[in-house]
């Protein structure tokens, strides 16, 4: 009887490990292929490779639209993330600290943009910006700041979600302790509250930035002539050509984002807040 139980437990563990392995492979395999492909020598992707080369990485720099797209995506991502923090952190504080009517619906509303399909969000943004443009008679659609405004909407859910999670682990009494020791509400916020939710803020900013940087669907509606983000540049390139340049661009992206995550993880343990 005992040995049967041991076998069953072992079989259970194997099944679990196996399932986890399959899931992991499912996620990683496309990435591995993309990375592999970036080093193929031949122009048409086919297996097995005829040889290996780094020329596709050099090819990225030769194409101005990749460099410009990268630059635009980066600037939009940074600005949208900063704005998202300024709006999202106070929102998270309110949601956790105050009990008011419509708190539940408001919390859901702030998380909504990650749930709504990007195309729907993009259409809504597009229509809204056209309306604003017509009513105010100023250029809105296609401008840099209108694009940033759209991205702020998809950054906020990450900030709110991760800062909320971080706040839940903070003992409310530490703020009272600070006030008891002579710190007013403002000093308490800067010196006590903010540092204790820093992991949530950093993680929220990171994920918000990554989301913004990789966003395609919404950006498609909001970009103007001559102003295209990196994902759009990639899409447009793919319509004409399939060569490993795209794979090389993806590798650069993966390295940048992965690097940012590793760097962040050194200062705040992402596993603790996500």
């Amino acid at each position: 009887m005992t040995s049967l139980a041991v076998i069953r437990r072992r079989a259970g563990r194997w099944a679990l490990n196996g399932a986890a392995g399959v899931a992991l492979a499912y996620i990683l395999l496309p990435l591995i292929f993309v990375v592999w492909l970036a080093f193929f020598r031949q122009e048409i992707p086919s297996f097995p490779p005829e040889g290996y080369s780094l020329k596709w990485f050099a090819a990225i720099l030769d194409q101005r639209k990749f460099v410009d797209g990268f630059s635009l995506s980066f600037r939009v991502g940074v600005l949208a993330t900063l704005t998202g923090l300024v709006l999202g952190v106070p929102a998270a504080l309110c949601l956790v600290r105050y009990n008011f009517t419509l708190r539940g619906p408001l919390a859901n509303l702030l998380l909504m943009p990650v749930v709504v399909p990007g195309v729907v969000l993009g259409t809504a943004m597009y229509v809204f910006q056209v309306e604003v443009e017509n009513d105010l008679d100023v250029d809105v659609l296609g401008t840099f700041y209108a694009l940033v405004a759209g991205h702020v909407v998809i950054v906020i859910p990450w900030v709110v979600r991760l800062v909320t999670a971080s706040l839940a682990g903070v003992d409310r009494a530490i703020e009272e302790a600070a006030q008891n020791l002579g710190a007013n509400a403002w000093v308490t916020f800067w010196r006590i509250t903010l540092p204790s939710i820093r992991p949530g803020i950093v993680a929220g900013a990171l994920f918000g930035f990554v989301t913004s940087f990789g966003n395609l669907e919404m950006s498609l509606f909001l970009v103007g002539p001559g102003r295209t983000t990196l994902p759009i540049v990639i899409l447009q390139y793919l319509e004409w050509k399939i060569d490993p340049t795209i794979a090389a661009v993806s590798v650069v992206q993966i390295l940048l984002i992965g690097g940012a995550m590793l760097l962040t993880d050194r200062y705040v343990k992402l596993a603790r807040v996500v």
Binding site: D171, I174, E176, A177, N180, L181, A183, R191
Partner: protein, 354 residues
């Protein structure tokens, strides 16, 4: 240090009265303990003194100055929180220095004061550690040091020992009390633990349902409880329900006629301290026969506590009494089911009108 006066303090949340009408005066250097079950309003009272809760009515005076409307950061009250509330991202020294920095004290003086205070709580050399690297007892002492560093007018302790294990708690009680005496700190402590309250306080305040039930010394509360609640909350009492037939005559609902001291005619309860009741073998002419009350009964339950033994004795269908005896060699120690006699003098029983 300063005296603290609480005048007719009231806190209402809608229809709920957290604190009904509390007035207390705490003398300079006095250690006052607010004792009561959870939800009795003791913590709300303390938090109103600290300034975290705005009272619905009443005043708080610190050193004669009305601080009722001042925000917490403008009152010079040092508080030790139940969870200690140490700043997790700051070192021990930075935690202790925080209040001093808020007071814009020069850096060199801050360092000196931090060292002094840490030495006072026997944590010299721990300044560079983070709170999470300390044990619970050490964290508690950092919290105390942090509150003491600002030289508060009044020290407020909110269940400061409830997160410590039993053995450490006993040590820290004495430590805090000695420190408080040595520094002459005006102190208000909130606790639900009566043993803690009795060992630490100069004076105790028993609260229940937002009201002060009794204020007095340990002896006052134990020997002369003001009402049935205090009699049951401070120490233990067995309550026999019945009627006071005449002053000095009590009849339980189970039909026992008992001698008691005082009381007004009418429905009431007779409270008896378990250790004031004697127990002996069922011999009518035994040593208990000289007492005002001497009754036969049956042992229903015995709990052996080591130094003491609790014996639950059935006196009638509705009356049961707890007798506590010292565990002595050769002492009378009945078993469950045994017939016994219990007895007590009339003065041991206190009657409260119901």
């Amino acid at each position: 240090m300063a005296r603290l006066d609480i005048e007719n303090l009231v806190k209402r949340y809608g229809d709920f009265h957290a604190v009904r009408d509390v007035s207390l005066s705490i003398a300079d250097g006095e250690f006052l303990v607010l004792l009561g079950p959870s939800g009795c309003g003791k913590t709300t009272t303390l938090r109103m003194v600290a300034g975290f809760i705005e009272p619905t009515a009443g005043r708080v005076l610190l050193g004669g100055q009305d601080v009722t409307l001042l925000p917490p950061w403008k009152r010079n009250a040092g508080m030790v929180f139940q969870s200690y509330a140490l700043f997790p991202h700051l070192t021990v020294a930075q935690n202790v220095a925080f209040g001093l920095e808020m007071r814009k004290i020069p850096r060199a003086d801050i360092e000196k004061r931090v060292e002094e205070v840490l030495a006072l709580v026997r944590l010299g050399g721990y300044g560079g550690r983070l709170p999470r690297q300390l044990s619970g007892g050490q964290q508690q002492r950092v919290a105390l040091a942090r509150a003491l560093a600002i030289r508060p007018d009044v020290l407020l302790l909110d269940e400061p020992l409830s997160n410590l294990d039993a053995k450490l708690r006993q040590e820290v009680r004495v430590e805090i009390r000695e420190l408080q005496r040595q520094l002459g700190l005006t102190t208000v402590m909130v606790t639900h633990d009566q043993e803690e309250a009795l060992t630490m306080a100069d004076r105790l305040v028993v609260m229940n349902e937002g009201l002060v039930r009794q204020v007095g010394s340990q002896r006052d509360l134990y020997e002369r409880p003001a009402d049935r609640f205090v009699a049951g909350f401070v120490g233990r009492s067995t309550f026999l329900v019945g009627t006071v037939e005449a002053p000095g005559r009590f009849r339980s609902n189970g039909g026992l006629g008992l001698a008691c001291s005082g009381g007004m005619a009418g429905p009431g309860v007779l409270a008896l301290r378990p250790e004031r009741v004697e127990i002996g073998p069922p011999i009518p002419s035994g040593p208990l026969s000289g007492l005002d009350n001497c009754l036969p009964g049956t042992v229903e339950f015995v709990s052996y506590l080591g130094a003491l033994i609790d014996i639950h004795v059935r006196l009638s269908t509705t009356d049961r009494l707890v007798v506590q005896i010292a565990n002595r060699d050769g002492g009378f120690a009945p078993d469950v089911g045994q017939s016994v006699h219990v007895g007590w003098p009339a003065s041991a029983g206190q009657v409260f009108a119901e």
